[in-house]
Symmetry: C2
Subunit: 220 residues, 2 copies
């Protein structure tokens, strides 16, 4: 079983959007799915499920839905970028081109993992606040992150996408997802076309961590 | 630097609620915080921040808020459990007793990490659906999970809590969290009183993963 040191996995997990159509062996996929299983959930209720989609017809339909949402997103994002500084524009354009590639090759991705959740099995402590709720995600995205990290260990490319949530009814109907289950993410998985994972670009710790109160940089 | 193989970390990360008051060395805490930094976020916007709380006065106030919410939760949960089968009741009661311990010792926890997020920096694709939104959490909880996994590697106990979100205004005021930032989680961190992490109890893969459509068990 391939494995990797934890800190190496965390710091080199990239969004890999260029994936080869080659199939993922069953034993490899099994380990990746099993990794998700161990994630924490509120009250250990495990209110999430994965649907493993490999049938060409289902992938083709999801690809059609995905490219509809992606095209609109990419168009509006590129319009916004026209006013951005050149460096930002270049970096963002690189991501958009990889996104274009993912969108065009979505149906050829060997595996699509659709994460579902049951809101009735969640204690959503921020449901009544006057801001967008996120707490339900606390019982789903740790599992998604576990799956991504296992892909990293196995040399598989992968990326956390949420665009298909905006056309959730079509996805639910295609995959027979019953009430009251919703969808939280779709993760395309496959071997990378290019070099795949590697060092990631993030803000320094002093920008992301504060000491005692918001705004006071944590010493890096 | 202590490290651990990825799959071992994923499968032995427990919610550890009994924590010793002994301080966490700066270099250890730095590695744990830095691990969160690498997590994926939508469009790499990194719309999350951590506040590292160690001042006794702040911890005492957070503990007071926490125990108010916890006591109400535990009371109603215990009332529900009266009708549950004995095995369920025993297992849940074990978790509740650990939760009682966490609540009573919250102020003595060496480090509390408060995760904040900025909804204006998130593309919340499920915001308009007729169900609780979770997608904002997709740009916060992967970072929380990375932090928990790093704690696991370092031999630190930790647990993902979201109860304080329900009294978010008080937390924001205490820690000077400005508009439009919200809070997504508070993670108490410290060395475990008992044995800490170890094998976790979860549903089998055939219950959590489906093949092609919802309800068809993925072969385990």
């Amino acid at each position: 079983m391939p494995d990797i040191a934890l800190y190496d996995a965390l710091s080199t997990l990239r969004a890999v959007r260029r994936l080869r159509p080659d199939p993922v062996p069953d034993d490899v996929l099994h380990r990746v799915l099993d990794a998700a299983r161990f994630a924490p959930t509120g009250g250990n209720r495990q209110p999430w499920r994965m649907i493993v989609v490999r049938e060409p017809q289902s992938k083709a339909r999801l690809a059609q839905l995905y490219s509809g949402v992606w095209d609109a997103y990419a168009r509006s994002h590129r319009a916004l970028l026209e006013k951005a500084p050149e460096k930002t524009r270049e970096r963002q354009e690189k991501m958009l081109r990889a996104g274009d590639h993912l969108s065009r090759h979505f149906a050829a991705t060997p595996v699509l993992v659709v994460f579902c959740f049951n809101p009735e099995e969640m204690a959503i402590t921020d449901a009544k606040l006057d801001r967008p709720s996120v707490v339900g995600g606390g019982s789903v995205y740790p599992a998604v992150q576990n799956l991504l990290l296992a892909c990293r260990a196995e040399g598989l490319g992968c990326v956390l996408t949420t665009l298909l949530c905006s056309v959730e009814e079509e996805v639910r109907s295609l995959l027979s997802i019953p009430d009251p289950w919703g969808t939280a993410a779709v993760v395309p998985i496959g071997y990378p076309v290019l070099r795949g994972h590697g060092p990631v670009s993030r803000r320094p710790l002093s920008k992301l961590a504060f000491d005692e109160r918001f705004g006071t940089a944590y010493p890096d």
